[in-house]
């Protein structure tokens, strides 16, 4: 009796744990295909729209537009059809990585907003996890999705932001391009031209050396290190890499330790070990934001950034680091290849582009209504209204033609830079390869030799790709 009573509690406990355990294991099973027409005729509909933007914070303008204009207009339009729709906006103001974690956790539990804004490079990962499904699966009735007239207005390259393995998972929400910004005030003081356009990396270095003579000025800021996350890849390594003629993934193989990667790292070394750049800034948790503030305070000469910098950072009224005299002071130039003609496809100038897409949560209660909202969001009228007078490169050619004429900088990006641009591969391994690139630049900025950093990078890429065969290191 006594022996039994001593053993019983642990035995019961283990049994309980086992039940819980197997219960959870079972839960990871796929729920299977759902009826795409569920609740299609509902007259009372609730939808949630998730986005990494928040009023007064990150991407404030987008959040404000969605809440104050888009949602009320959609509700009104639906009311006319006799449908009572409530659309909730689920805003977020986190770092992109944190937003991604939250979404993944939500989606893995089969919850989360009905419409989700995601970065184009997550599409592959999310698709492989089954968190998002091809629009034709979620909404059903293939013709209805493919027949949407909006597709004709979205250029093929931009559509790729929402495509994985040839299938459309979401509707892209615009694209962007990268340039070299420079401070004309500082350039004048350093005796450099106001219409600067470097034709090689050497010319960037030369300009930097001129700027170095000014006191209290950091000549060049090119994002590096792990603290900046994807900003290092997008506004640093990748545009430089295409400037050497290579891409990060060619014919299904990732680029490992190679002459081109070393060339890029060598360029970083040149900047950060000779006082042309500020190595401390690259290691700070909020380094990128600080670099914005320093540029706006006329303390940085040259900065590599996307057009986001122009329209949301130094923008005179709404920017996070406002420059009242932006139009007069901030110059912009195309990013040169290492030397003329050495860029990818023999280009003289290069750029990288990114962008997001909006996908439908496969577990939504109202797939049809979600697709209606998605079309509504991407109608010419709404896309244009979303700009609220500001210029921005949208996903729609018809809107771009109308709104970009008024902003010479964005027009420059749309007409000149996008011609030379590249997109990141939408593959599930990309974020890890990107992290390896960030680490390699961190190593170089931290004082490691280019050779050691490149070797460590090779190891990391092999681990990320899963096998040596998927990495080329010519």
């Amino acid at each position: 009796m006594r022996r039994i009573s001593r053993l019983t509690p642990p035995a019961l406990l283990s049994a309980a744990a086992l039940v819980l355990l197997t219960g959870c294991l079972g839960a990871s099973d796929d729920a299977g295909d759902q009826d795409a027409n569920r609740n299609a005729d509902a007259t009372k509909v609730e939808l949630t729209l998730g986005s990494n933007s928040v009023k007064g914070g990150k991407n404030s303008a987008g959040a404000t537009f969605t809440q104050d204009v888009l949602i009320p207009k959609f509700v009104e339009a639906q009311k006319a059809k006799g449908v009572d729709v409530t659309v909730k906006f689920q805003g977020d103001g986190s770092d992109d990585e944190v937003y991604k974690q939250k979404l993944s956790l939500d989606l893995s539990n089969k919850s989360g907003p009905d419409l989700i804004n995601i970065d184009g490079i997550w599409v592959g990962e999310f698709a492989q996890a089954g968190y998002i499904k091809p629009l034709t699966d979620t909404v059903g009735d293939a013709a209805k999705v493919d027949d949407w007239d909006g597709w004709k207005q979205i250029p093929e390259s931009v559509q790729q932001l929402g495509v994985f393995e040839g299938k459309r998972y979401g509707v892209p929400g615009g694209t962007d391009g990268r340039v070299l910004y420079f401070n004309k005030k500082l350039f004048q003081q350093a005796g450099l031209p106001a219409d600067w356009q470097p034709k090689s990396w050497d010319e960037i270095i030369q300009a930097g050396q001129q700027l170095k003579k000014l006191s209290g000025v950091t000549p060049i800021q090119i994002n590096a290190g792990t603290a900046m996350g994807e900003a290092t890849s997008m506004q640093g390594v990748l545009p430089l890499l295409v400037g050497t003629g290579a891409t990060i993934n060619t014919d299904g193989k990732w680029l490992g330790d190679s002459p081109q990667v070393r060339q890029v790292l060598e360029f970083y070394k040149q900047i950060y070990s000779t006082g042309l750049g500020d190595p401390v800034l690259q290691r700070e948790a909020k380094g990128r934001d600080k670099s914005f503030a320093e540029f706006a305070a006329n303390k940085i000469g040259i900065l590599l950034e996307g057009d986001y910098f122009w329209r949301s950072v130094v923008e005179p009224k709404e920017g996070v680091a406002k420059m009242a005299d932006r139009d007069a002071v901030v110059g912009y130039a195309q990013i040169p290849a290492v030397k003329a003609g050495a860029g990818i496809k023999g280009q003289d100038f290069v750029s990288m582009s990114g962008g997001g897409a909006v996908a439908i949560n496969p577990n939504t209660k109202f797939p049809q209504q979600a697709w209606e909202l998605l079309q509504f969001m991407n109608s010419a009228e709404m896309v244009e209204a979303g700009l609220n007078g500001a210029a921005k490169i949208t996903q729609r050619s018809d809107v771009n033609a109308k709104v970009l004429a008024g902003d010479p900088m964005l027009n420059f990006v749309a007409s000149e830079v996008l011609r030379n641009t590249q997109y990141r591969p939408g593959l599930a391994e990309y974020p890890k390869v990107s992290a390896a690139l960030q680490q390699a630049t961190a190593d170089v900025v931290g004082g490691k030799s280019v050779e050691d950093a490149a070797k460590a990078y090779q190891t990391a890429v092999e681990a990320a790709a899963g096998s040596k065969d998927k990495v080329s290191s010519n």
Binding site: L12, Q101, A129, G130, A285
Partner: protein, 307 residues
């Protein structure tokens, strides 16, 4: 079956007294009493632990194919940890963090404060204790942000005190900053513990030590320390374990720059949530748990030897 050969006493519940054991209550009733505790422990301690061990032998990820169909990969996460330079780095930094801020910093400073405050006037003593305790009471996020502001390169208090601009303390000396931060935060606990411990030292022995002309150090070593040895061990165990599992380094440096302050808990977070590798991070968590258990066992052994 057992009941037929071992008849239960009549109405056992009525019988009172210290001799009454659990079995006498009847197994059903006994379980009834402990069930709520057992359920809670099972749900919040045993289950997560078992679950973590299980996840630790899979390649479960937050996104990608392994998010939907993780497969069991045996001990490969553990062999990966053995060869993972970043994990070794994290272990080493955790050790430094525990040694520097808990075993040395909080212990010594806490004891010194308690020793000095011992004969202070009650009003002074209460004020000092109150001030020091503030650090202990404030939420760690608040304390962390205060220290971030203190160390800041451009606007930080430290640089303006030193009259020198431009040192980014959290970037250049991240571990030193973390040790200072945690020492400051945890000293209050050690001080309180040692204050009460010191009251257990018989004043007569201190008095005789003084009369035979023992130096301050001799008094401490030969009179005070033998009395508070148990307290020292207990305190060291507690604060070491807290510090080893502390997540607040993340609030100050996020583990950066370049992994230079990435202690094991921060590494686990980064692997799990930034990298999405739930399987691997679970394996490391389990390793941390084992390390904690070993430390606890070591201290218990030391305590018992003394007893």
């Amino acid at each position: 079956m057992a009941t037929t050969t071992d008849p239960a006493p009549v109405r056992p519940a009525r019988v009172r007294g210290p001799a009454q054991d659990v079995a006498g209550l009847g197994i059903g009733r006994a379980l009834g009493f402990v069930a709520p505790a057992l359920l809670l422990i099972g749900a919040f301690l045993v289950f997560p632990a078992v679950w973590t061990i299980y996840i630790g032998i899979t390649n479960y990820r937050l996104t990608g194919v392994e998010a939907v169909s993780p497969s069991i990969v045996g001990l490969s996460n553990y062999t990966k940890a053995l060869n993972d330079a970043l994990f070794h780095n994290a272990l080493w930094l955790t050790l430094l963090f525990v040694l520097g801020s808990a075993i040395i910093g909080q212990n010594i400073l806490g004891f010194a404060l308690a020793w000095t405050m011992r004969r202070a006037r009650p009003a002074v003593r209460r004020t000092v204790e109150g001030l020091v305790l503030l650090a202990w009471i404030l939420p760690s996020t608040v304390v962390a942000y205060l220290w971030v502001a203190f160390f800041d390169r451009d606007t930080g208090t430290l640089n303006s005190i030193l009259g020198e601009q431009g040192t980014a303390w959290l970037i250049e000396y991240p571990m030193v900053c973390l040790v200072l931060f945690n020492t400051w935060r945890g000293t209050a606990f050690s001080m309180m513990l040692y204050s009460s411990a010191l009251q257990a030292v018989p004043p007569s022995q201190l008095e005789s030590a003084r009369m035979v002309g023992a130096s301050g150090w001799q008094t401490l070593r030969d009179v005070v320390f033998p009395h508070i040895r148990g307290h020292v061990l207990t305190n060291t165990l507690l604060i070491s374990l807290w510090t080893a599992n502390d997540f607040s380094p993340f609030l100050l440096t996020k583990g950066g720059p370049n992994h230079e302050s990435e202690t094991v808990p921060v590494y686990i977070y980064n692997v799990a949530l930034q990298g999405g590798e739930l399987g691997y991070s679970s394996a490391i968590s389990f390793l941390l748990l084992i390390a904690n258990l070993l430390v606890a066992l070591l201290y218990l052994r030391l305590l018992r030897r003394r007893a």
